[in-house]
Structures are given as structure tokens and as C-alpha cells.
């Protein structure tokens, strides 16, 4: 948007462009990422169940017993806490690099790459940190 002067246009109109563009992205990520994670959890458990049943590797009874046997409700909480941190990292870093990109199409590509690389590194670091804090 900066490349095509749309951010400048917002600023000229007197709109706080950072707040207008970045805040909704961060808020929506914080809201929707946990929903996606819960959805993926349900889907993966159901997928495993179906795969086990159709390939005759495991009976339905054993599968349902197995997933409940060592179940710790805190694991869900732990996953959702991590998700919130990761959502913030992904949304804020991507928005930051997008907001400040200057130049042309080449710079937009470079900024996208930087956003992905920095997000990945921070996610790895926070993964270690949160695991240490929450699971030890």
C-alpha cells in the first residue's frame, strides 16, 4: 500500500494509517487463530480415527480409549496460549514489514520473505520459551 501511495493518501486525509491498517489484522488474528487451531485439532483426531478404521489398524473402541487415556485438559490450554503468541507474532511482523516497505514489486517480495523469516525465528524462540514456562 505504501508503494502505491495508499498509505500516504490515508495520512493526508488525517487517518491514523498504522492504527487503521494494522490493528484490525492483529485483533482478527488473535481471534481467529485459536478457532483454526481448535478446528485443526478436531479434524486431525477425526482424520486419525477414520484412517485407523478404514485401514483396520486400530478398532474404533481402542482409538477412542487411547485418545482419552493420557488426555490432559491443560494441553488444550497450552496450545491455545501458544497460538495467541504466534498469532500476534505473525500478524504484527507481517504488518510491520508490509507497512514500511518502500520501492517497487521487488521490494514487496523481499519484505514478504523477511516477514516470513523473522516470524519463523521468533515463533521458534517463543516455542522454546513458552514450553519451558508452561510445561516445566
Amino acid at each position: 500500500m505504501r508503494v502505491t501511495e495508499q498509505i500516504d493518501a490515508l495520512e493526508i486525509m488525517g487517518v491514523n494509517s498504522a492504527s487503521y491498517l494494522i490493528l484490525p489484522k492483529i485483533l482478527s488474528s488473535l481471534f481467529i487463530f485459536p478457532v483454526l487451531v481448535l478446528f485443526s485439532m478436531v479434524l486431525s483426531i477425526w482424520g486419525g480415527w477414520m484412517a485407523g478404521m478404514f485401514t483396520n489398524c486400530i478398532t474404533s473402541h481402542d482409538y477412542l480409549y487411547g485418545i482419552q487415556y493420557a488426555f490432559r485438559p491443560f494441553n488444550i490450554t497450552y496450545a491455545l496460549i501458544k497460538t495467541e503468541f504466534f498469532a500476534f507474532i505473525i500478524a504484527s511482523i507481517s504488518a510491520y514489514h508490509g507497512y514500511y516497505v518502500n520501492g517497487g514489486a521487488l521490494e514487496v517480495g523481499k519484505a514478504s520473505t523477511r516477514a516470513v523469516v523473522y516470524s519463523n525465528i521468533l515463533i521458534l524462540l517463543f516455542n522454546v520459551l513458552l514450553t519451558q514456562l508452561l510445561l516445566t
Binding site: 502505491t4 501511495e5 495508499q6 500516504d8 493518501a9 495520512e11 493526508i12 486525509m13 488525517g14
Partner: protein, 255 residues
């Protein structure tokens, strides 16, 4: 009226604007001309605060918009005044700067949504009026990606006049347009300037525009104000740099 008083701007120690003092008058089309890289766009962006000036002062009417001499706390106090002035300001960017996730109508309604308490029917009425003013009534529902270059510029003008601005700033409104469409855009800007008695500043290097609508012309050369006059006076000046600039166009590259 927009006034710049001794403004200077540097980038990484390289001076781009040097002590420029100008007065852009109300109800007139004020043109800033100069070679590419002479500092025209930087001047325009300094006037509207997209670049902070290193030295000098910018005034809109009698209100201070930028003042390099002010301290941090004084600049913070100036912020509210600046916000008010910005809402009286319409700007036409070189590429239009339309929001591509919105339709033409939504683009024109955007400033009204952000800064007024107008009801939806009132906003629609005003937006349709602005689109009619720029002869784009039939394009209201189109996405910006479906517009031609000239239509994009006209949509940007409609958006710029949506809130009845006191000041209209245009950065190379004719770039990338064919000569006929360029004339249409020039005429439209001049008509709007007269109709609403606003202060209009146009950055251009199109000599056709200068001769057609340049009621006041400022020539910027190497970051300095080199010459100031009217479009008629340009033809009789002895200023060598300005003549070089004009002559380049006369010798078959523009006029």
C-alpha cells in the same frame, strides 16, 4: 492560501530543498514545474507533512501546519490543528492512490465515513454528486482495477473533493495520460478551483498544462525556487535554466 517560509529538506545529508519561500494563492491554479528530480514532489510532500521539514515553516491560511523551529512538546500541541487542516485538504496522487479493495463509489465515500456523521443516504447523495461532477456517474459500481488511467484520476479527484476541501494538491495529474485526457483533467481541476474558490497546487512537467491553466507558475531548479511568474511571462523570460526547460519541450518533445 498556502505559504512556505524558507523551507529546507535533506535526505541523508543531501539537500533536496534549499530555502524555498512561496505563496500559493486562493482561487488560482498554482503550478510547480521543474525537471525530474528537481524536488517538486518533495516540496509537495513537505507542504502536506508527509516529509517533515528540516528548516522553515508551512502555513495554511494563517494557521501553522509545520514549523521546524518548534520543540517536541510544541509539535505535539500542533498535532490537533494539523489534523483539522488535513481534513480540509484533498490530494491527487500520481497513481491515483485509490483503495483497490473498494469500488469507485466506496472510494469516494471513504473520507465521509471516516470524518463525518453523515447518514448513509446523505453520503451516497454526496458521492454521486462528486462522481457526476467528474463525469463518472456510470462507473460508480466498478472496481478500481476496471478503470482506465484517466478514470482513476477522475475518481481520485472526486474523492479529494468529497469533503469540500479548501486546498487541493495534485502530484503530476497528467502523468501516463494521453494528451486529450490530460486536457480533460486540467480543465476539471481548474473548474473545481474556480467553482469552490480553493487553493490548488499542481506539480507537473507538462508544458501544455502550464500554458493552459498556469495562473501562477513556480520553476524549481536544483532544489531552489528559480523563477516565479504567470504562464504568459514564461514565454518572455531571460532565465536561462527555465528557457532550457521550456525549450526542451518546444523542440518536439512536448509542444
Amino acid at each position: 492560501m498556502i505559504e512556505s517560509v524558507n523551507i529546507s529538506k535533506s535526505f541523508n545529508g543531501r539537500p533536496v530543498l534549499k530555502n524555498i519561500s512561496l505563496l500559493f494563492e486562493q482561487g488560482k491554479t498554482n503550478l510547480v514545474i521543474g525537471e525530474s528530480g528537481s524536488g517538486k514532489t518533495v516540496l509537495l510532500k513537505c507542504l502536506v507533512g508527509l516529509f517533515e521539514i528540516d528548516e522553515g515553516q508551512v502555513l495554511f491560511g494563517n494557521r501553522i501546519f509545520s514549523d521546524a523551529a518548534l520543540g517536541v512538546s510544541e509539535k505535539a500541541k500542533l498535532k490537533d490543528e494539523r489534523q483539522k487542516i488535513r481534513q480540509e485538504l484533498g490530494m491527487l496522487f500520481q497513481g491515483g492512490a485509490l483503495f483497490d479493495s473498494m469500488s469507485v463509489l466506496e472510494n469516494v465515500m471513504f473520507p465521509m465515513r471516516m470524518f463525518t456523521d453523515m447518514k448513509e443516504p446523505e453520503m451516497l447523495e454526496r458521492a454521486h454528486f462528486c462522481l457526476k461532477r467528474v463525469k463518472l456517474s456510470d462507473a460508480a459500481k466498478l472496481q478500481t482495477s476496471e478503470l482506465s488511467g484517466g478514470m482513476k484520476k477522475r475518481t481520485a479527484i472526486a474523492r479529494a473533493i468529497a469533503l469540500n476541501p479548501q486546498y487541493l494538491l495534485c502530484d503530476e495529474p497528467n502523468s501516463g495520460l494521453d494528451p486529450q485526457t490530460a486536457v480533460v483533467i486540467d480543465d476539471l481541476i481548474q473548474e473545481i478551483t474556480k467553482e469552490y474558490n480553493i487553493t490548488t497546487i499542481i506539480n507537473t512537467h507538462d508544458m501544455n498544462s502550464v500554458m493552459e491553466i498556469g495562473e501562477k507558475v513556480v520553476f524549481i531548479y536544483e532544489g531552489k525556487k528559480w523563477w516565479e511568474g504567470t504562464n504568459r511571462e514564461i514565454l518572455f523570460t531571460n532565465n536561462r535554466e527555465l528557457n532550457d526547460f521550456v525549450y526542451a519541450y518546444k523542440s518536439g518533445r512536448g509542444m
